[in-house]
Amino acid sequence: MTAISPTEQAAARATSIVVAEAQARARLRKRHTLVIGLRLAILVALLGLWELGADYNIIDPFFFASPSGIWEQIWSWVTEGTSQGPLWLQIYVTLEETFLGFVIGALGGIAAGIVLGRNKLLADVFSIYIKIANSVPRVVLGSVFIIALGLGMASKVALAVVMVFFVVFANAFQGVREADRAMIANAQILGASPFQITTSVIIPSAMSWILASLHVSFGFALVGAVVGEFLGAKQGMGLLISTAQGAFNANGVFAAMIILAVMALVVEFLITRFENYVVKWRPAPFNEQGA
């Protein structure tokens, strides 16, 4: 052992911290690669099994399609268009309906959740009617909407709205009710008006509730729009599925569903982005924390 001067020691320490932090970053990167790798592995394994199953007729491709067939179908839609026009138009139509429905339903759900969550009397009186409305089969509602709103975009949007509304409402309502009472009291004492309490305490604390419901309800909005298109439409992914079903084109049905899934994932990615931005104040769980 040789003696080390204090400055050397300090320098050594600083180096070791830099090294430790670089290692931590490398670990994070490695983990990210691992996650992507595992996801891909699962995807490849599933598709491989499916394709094999279809080849050996264990999974009847007549009913359940096959990855290669689906791919061909998508390719043909992309290059040659669908019977209803170009593929991107179908996607655009469905996406527009879904988006409108999602936004209206989510905003409505959040607003209703906050209003009823903040006012016990209103909640006691009206929540029973919301429960009733939620038990109405959407397919039947679909027909009612078509009668009332016609076969245009409005009825699909309405159907997407009712798919989204209840999920978001339920969560927003409960989220509001769960807001910490001490924090509300603190805001009140600091001088917040009821409206300010809502915007600066209630909404931030209900945010993770609302976001959780948004994650699941975009898929629901998509389902609503597609069901609406099923019931009657001249454009859209739902019609594409309906036509494919009618023509025993399992590949077409699954191809359309995969396109829907990709749409959902893109929006999901955006919601997650938004979520990370909104809840960046949140502490990491102890076991995931590391410099």
Binding site: I147, L151, G232
Partner: protein, 310 residues
């Protein structure tokens, strides 16, 4: 410039409603100066409701709805008749060779697309005509397409009524065979005792009053199509249809079309005794028709077709 006309088709890809899309594909609407928009809706009720609500101008669907709706005080009229036979086939599962005619339906479960649908009434009519009573058989609504095939495969139905392309699909795999064919006028007469007008183009009676011109133009376009069908081979017709409608198996589509082409009227005209047959079938089973007086002359008109054929 003509107003936009919206027409609901009860399944654009279905062969029985083929004239609707074909007219569009052949450009006959445009030739007439019409701006027609076809909307797909596989659930029949939606189409009628929309028509009654005035949101669309016409529907391509089964003629029997005009009769049924009249019993509820709503008046709609077929102005072009696409087919003189239902285009339906009663298939029997290969697992049940003992069923050789509708007379053997006793104790069987029979597939129909939906309760109260045309297939429901036709199936029951076949059974009754062959000496059975209601209650001797069970009806199961299984829809059309995949679910129908699955029901046959899983032996949940022993026989069932459906249309192309489900027929072709089941025949191809040999899982079912034809028991009663109602795709041609002759065979339909044999099975039902008369012509059975099915696929048709109908509109609200009130609409005709103020839209004679449009109605005539529509009739002209459709009649042209009916003639096209009558004068072209199944293959030539299939070539005109969007690719998605036969999705990779064009042969089967053509085969089905060849077998069923005869169901289409050559001129869009209502077969003379057709409406009676329909009324007979319906009034035997449909509760809402019982005890009601139906004026068949208000359910269709040949005026426009006649003019078109001139």
């Amino acid at each position: 410039h003509a107003d936009k006309i919206t027409i609901i088709v009860g399944g654009m890809e279905k062969q029985i409603y083929l004239p609707a899309v074909l007219t569009q594909q052949l450009g006959y609407f445009k030739d007439e100066g019409l701006d027609v928009e076809l909307v797909n809706s596989r659930a029949g009720v939606e189409a009628e409701n929309e028509l009654l609500a005035g949101a669309v101008q016409g529907v391509v669907g089964f003629y029997d709805h005009t009769v049924d709706l009249q019993s509820k005080g709503k008046y709609i009229q077929s102005i072009v008749q696409f087919s003189q036979a239902p285009g339906e086939v009663e298939l029997v599962s290969a697992k049940h060779p003992e069923i050789k005619s509708p007379a053997d339906f006793k104790g069987a479960t029979l597939g129909v697309t939906g309760l109260g649908s045309s297939t429901d009434f036709l199936t029951q009519y076949l059974a009754i005509r062959n000496g059975l009573k209601q209650g001797d058989y069970t009806l199961l609504p299984v829809g059309a397409g995949n679910t129908f095939i699955a029901a046959v495969k899983q032996d949940q139905i022993q026989a069932g009524m459906t249309t192309e392309p489900t027929i072709g699909q089941l025949l191809k795999t040999g899982e079912a065979s034809v028991l009663v064919d109602m795709r041609t006028p002759e065979k339909t007469k044999a099975a039902l005792g008369g012509d059975y007008p099915a696929a048709s183009f109908y509109v609200q009676s009130a609409w005709i009053e103020d839209h004679k011109e449009e109605a005539q133009k529509l009739a002209n376009a459709f009649v042209k199509t009916m003639k096209f069908i009558a004068t072209h081979s199944a293959e030539e017709i299939a070539d005109k249809m969007p690719k998605d409608y036969y999705a990779g198996n064009k042969d089967l589509y053509v085969q089905g079309l060849a077998g069923g082409k005869a169901q289409f009227t050559p001129d869009g005209r209502m077969p003379a005794d057709g409406p009676e047959t329909v009324l007979k079938v319906l009034s035997t089973f449909s509760k809402s028709l019982q005890g009601k007086q139906i004026d068949l002359s208000k359910t269709y008109t040949t005026a426009f077709v006649d003019a078109a054929n001139k």
